[in-house]
Every structure is written in C-alpha cells, then in structure tokens.
Symmetry: none
Subunit: 205 residues, 4 copies
DNA sequence: GATGAATGAGCTTTCATTCAT
DNA sequence: CATGAATGAAAGCTCATTCAT
C-alpha cells in the first residue's frame, strides 16, 4: 500500500511540474505577446520570461506560434463552453443578441490579454491553425442558432451571411473601445452593439 | 519652346520617377509584403527584388517598416485626394454613404495589393506609426462631413462616435468578402454596406 | 532433472541476453550507424531506436563512440576466434592465404553491416581507440603465423612489413567490390586476392 | 586615365581581399580538419581560426563540407595537371608505374595535410561530391593509359579492373607508411609499390 | 538499475547595418 | 550616391548529460 501510494505521489509530482512548466510558458507567452506583438516576439523572449532553460521550451512547444495556438485554444474553449451551457430561451432576436453579447463581453473582460492578443494577431492565427478568427465568437454556432430561431418564427428573416460577416467586426470594434474606458461598462456596450445591429446608425426612424 | 522643354522635363521626371530607386524599393516592398507578409519579410528580400545593392536601401529607408508606412501613406493619400476632390452634393445620408463607399471600394479594387497589405498588417502599422488604421478611410474627415450634414439638417442625428468606430470594420468586412468573389461587384457591396449601416440587420421593419 | 534445469537456465540466459539492454543498444547502434553514418548519428538516435529512456544509455556506455568500439570489438572478437580455432595445416603460402582469406570473407558476408560500419568509419575508430583498423584482420596475428611458416621453411621469404601494410587494404578493396555484386562469390574473390598478393598484377610471367 | 586606373585598382583591392578571405578560410579548414577530423570540426572552429566574423564564412561557403570539397578539388586539380603534363614515353609497364607513382608521391609529400585529410575522410567526400576517391589518383585516367599501352603491345595483358581497384589502396597504404618515417623516401617507397604491384609479395620466384 | 524532464553549452544560420571603395 | 563584403548580435534549435524520482 505504501509503495503504491509513493508511486502515485511521484508520478503526480512530475505531472504537476510538467503542467506547471506548460502554464509557465503560456503565461510568459501572453506577457511577451502583449508587450511586443506576436510577430516581434521570439522564443528566446518567452523563455527569458519563464526563467527556464532554453531547451525546456522545446519539450512543450516547437515554436512561438504553437504557444499562440494554445492561448487561442484556451480562450475559444472557454467561450465555447459558456455559450453552450447557457439555457436561456430568448423571446425575440433582440433578447437573443443581448444575452449572447453580454456573455461574450463579460468573458472578454475576464481575460483582456487573451482577447487583445487574439484580435491583434488574427492574420497570424489564420495562417497557423484551422481555428478561424470566427471561432472567437463561434460565429457558425451563433448563425445556426439564429437560423433555428428564424425557422421557429421568433426571429425575423435576416441575411444570415451578412450576420456572419458583420457580427465579429462590430462587436470587436465596440469591445475594444469599451476596454479603453476607465470603467468598462458591459451593459452599455452591449446595448450599443444590439441597437446598432438591429437598427443601424439611425435609431429613431 | 518653353512648353516643349516643360514636356521633356515632365517626361524625364516621370522616367526618373519610374526608375527612381525609391519607387523601385516601394514596389519591391509591395510584392514582398504580399508574398511573405510584413513580419516575415526582410530588408534583404526587398533589395533582392530591386536588384539594387543592400547599402542603397538605407539611402531611402531605414527599415522595412518605413517602406510599409510609405505604402500606407500612398494609399491614404490617394483615397484622401479622391474623397476631397469629389464635389457631389448628396441630398441625404443614404446618398452620402453610397457616394463615399462607392469611391472607397472602387479605389480598393484598383489597388488590391495595397489594401490587402494594409488590412493584413494593421497591428504592425499601429505599432509603428501614428497613422491609425482609420486613416484608411480617413474616418475623421468623414466624421466632420457627417457632422456638417447633420448641422445643415440634411442628415439625421446619429451617434458620431459609433459611426467613427463602426464604419471602418463594417466596410472592411464586406470589402474583403467582395474581393473573394470571382467578379467583385462594387455596386452590390455598396448597397449591402449602406443598407446595413442605415437599417441594421433587420431590414423591413 | 539437472540437465533440464540447466537447459532452462541457458534459455533464460539467452532470453536475458537477447532482451539485455546492452545488446539492445548495440543493435540499435548498428542500425543507426548504417543509416546515418557514425558521425551523423546521435546518442538520441540510438536510444530512440531501443525504446529505452535516455538516461539508461549512460548505464552502459558513455558515448556513441563506445558503442562503435563495442561493435568493432564484437567483430574482431568473432574473427579472432575463428582464426584461432582453425587447425588446418597449409602446405604452402598460397594455401595459407586461401584459407585465411576465405575465413575472413565468409565472416564478412555473415555480418555485412558490421563490416561496412567498420570500413566506413576507420578514421573515427582510429581516433577513438587503440584498436587500429588492422585489428579487423588481426594483422599482427597473421604476421606472426607467416613468420613461423617462413622459419619452418614451408613459406617463402617475404617482406613481412609489406605484408602487414598491404594485406588489409587489398582484401578490403576486393571485399567491398565483392559485396557490391548481386551474388557475392567468396571463392572467386579469394582467388583474386591470393593471385594478386602472390603474383602482382601481371600473372603469367 | 587616372580615373580608369583608380577604378581598376579599387576593383583589384576588393578582389584581392575577396580571394584572401577565401584562402584564409580554406587554410583554416585544413588546419581544423587535420586537428579534429572533418566530422568533428564545426564551422565555428574554422571561423575562429580565421579571425573573421561568423557571417563572413557564409559569403564564401555554405557549409564545412564545401570547404572540404574546395580542398579536395585543389588537390585533385594539382595532381591532374601534373599527370597530364608529363610527356615521358615509358618503355614498359614497370617504367610507367615508376613514373606515375613517383609523380604522385612527390605531390603527396608537397601537400601532406591535403593528402591526409583526403585519405582520412573518403567516406565524407564520397557522400558530398561527384568526386570519387579515385579522383585522388585519377584512376580512370591511368586505367585508360594502361589500356592504350597494352594495345600498343608495350604493356602486358593485365586485369584492368583489378588494377583500378587495387592501385589506390596499395599506394595509399605505402604512402601513409612513408609519411610516418622521419625522412620520407619517395624513391624507396615507389620501388616498393612497383615491385609489389608487378610481382606480388613473393619477389624472387 | 530505469526513467525522462531539465539543463545550458554551443552550433548553424540569418540579417540589419556599416563603411571602405 | 551606389556598391556589396564584412560584421557580429542574436535567433532557432539540438544534444549530451544529469539527477530527482
């Protein structure tokens, strides 16, 4: 029994170090990518930040881009889970957008660096992984939801392609503006988004 | 005689401009940036393309980023001139947007590489110069125009800040989609933009 | 019963030898040295081939060169044993050479990889150990045999130093040529060697 | 005129530096290859020896192997020229061999490092260039010469393939032995070679 | 004795930049 | 102004080797 416990403990210790180093590198990557931008960052910058030996980096990743992908994956995974967990039944399109965008902006505010790294380096991300930038908002998932809502008759007929094209850049633009404020206000930003998406620039027609 | 001399001078100027080392470098920059992306491109790549000696590069620019800025400036200058030259008097906001966006999309289509280089490298452009990406559409100039139109009463009251934030990303998203088509259709794309900007996603309310 | 136990023990020993880590490493070394050449091979390549952990390598060898030496030793040991076991009494020098070279070429043909590794890496072997390439044919042993034959009067007076210098390269050259043939013919090759060694290039004088 | 002269001078100065650096690197290569062997040598070792900057190496060669090839080419070129210049008309095969081997051994003695580098690294040379190790003695050229001599009837009928296989290793073995002597004696070594090649080990039959 | 992650020296190579010509 | 070889900092990466487990 003691032997067995020992073994387990040993393995765990190693496992812990292992995952520690991985996080160490990812976190260093986040800091470096924020400071210098992904394209200017070097593998050496990242390991310098971790305090690990240079060789250790390559035990976990084989390029800075893989670190970037790990960061993006982490973000996308998080937002994907929250989006899917949500079980609200919006009564109309406006409520639907309000809910979705609120979730997204709250998530963004909880991980501002991840969000900024992603929006600032979409071209690199595109080139390096299957994960399209749309993953960020999981656009395709939302598009399907909207289609279903329309089929059910609770959502209006809209141009789904336009929706898919425009949602991300609009929300990004307003989200980035929000994050520049001293006191980012998710509610206000959400309303702005939804109003614009529903009514365009000219509100009271 | 004077006329003749002038002509000759002009031609010479053009010739000079054409084979001008500065232009040579800028054009090489455009090709290289298109092929490898700005962050992967090197000064060496660019001079290799020109056939000039490496030292010559530094008589004109002191980094590849300066070449990028020159490219962006050139694009911005071009669109700026056209925007200002235009003397149409739009009768309302819709017409105004139609005119402006048509001009922009035509310009984009006439210089697709410049546009793609810019949209694909906004992070670098942001980091390197004061020139914000909004320069591309000369957003501030348009904002002023819109304000004036509103003051004159021919444009509706709109949220000018929202307009400034949202115009660029929306037009970019649709422009990029347009350029992926086999036969890019400026008119169609313009209508899509304007409709969305004016009415939002839900058209027939 | 004892017999039976013995047998089992023997089999076990063999099993152990077979799956013995040392042999595992040596065999991996042979494969890797054949594929990449000694100088391009790395310790990592070798352990990768064994499936062992990298640290384990150092329980048996302290460098890839030591593995090489082990391979060479193994080859030399083998040929040495056979040479010494042989109890033929040649009646003259020609018969002596025929016997010796036949033994050697048969041994070479039975272990082509070992032989190729050795002949292709003589510089490394020389630099790394006292074992000269002559070990391969156990030149010194043969030299002594020849001297004794000469003393006995059954061998002619020859230049022993020349013999020692020339035997190895001549046999190697013809052995390598033989191994390039579709159907290596030991007898033919042996005759060629012996004829040349005895009569030089011009046979019928 | 002055201008013209100046230009020529300038170009010459550059050319001189250029060829100086090339030689500098080749000579450093020779020293390093002698000391560590080709497979252990690194590009860094070589540039350290020259005193040049690391980048400069790559203006002339793109790997240590290219330096090796340059060394080998130089040697082969030299021996090739001398072999072809020679206009002696040997009266028989013995005289022919004496002349050829004397030329070769004198050349070897005049460039001992080059010769040693080559003989010690034939495997690497084989892998890296079309130049086979036989180039060293220009075996094929000699083979043709011998064939012609046989046709003319002044040389005996010999096994040309055997000649081509055996000449190089035999001469190499004796040449290396010669170079280990305090006072290398070309004449003696040549005689040894020729005697062995003509008569085999047993001289007085 | 086996494991395999961590280490860091050190190699190859590129590249921006300078400067004598 | 043009040239292009020289420079050397610095990046990417590998690998032998150690050592806690």
């Amino acid at each position: 029994m003691i032997d067995h416990d020992n073994k387990v403990e040993l393995i765990n210790k190693r496992e812990v170090t292992k995952s520690n180093n991985r996080s160490l590198i990812i976190n260093a990557g986040i800091k470096v990518f924020m400071e210098k931008g992904v394209s200017e960052a070097t593998v050496r910058d990242i390991i310098r930040f971790t305090g690990l030996a240079s060789g250790t980096f390559y035990n976990y990743f084989s390029s800075k881009e893989e670190v970037l992908v790990a960061i993006v994956d982490d973000f996308a995974l998080g937002i994907g889970q929250i989006l899917r967990i949500n079980k609200d039944k919006p009564k109309d399109f406006e409520e639907y957008l309000l809910i979705r965008i609120t979730i997204f902006l709250n998530y963004v505010i909880s991980r501002p660096e991840l969000y900024l790294i992603m929006t600032n380096n979409q071209n690199i991300i595109n080139n390096f992984s299957i994960i399209t930038p749309q993953v960020i908002l999981e656009i395709d998932f939302l598009k399907e939801e909207v289609k279903k809502g329309t089929e059910k008759g609770i959502f209006p007929e809209i141009d789904f392609e336009l929706f898919a094209l425009v949602l991300q850049p609009v929300v990004d633009a307003l989200a980035q503006d929000m994050m520049l404020q001293k006191r980012p206000n998710v509610k206000e930003c959400t309303n702005r988004c939804v109003n614009f998406l529903l009514n365009g620039l000219v509100e009271n027609k």
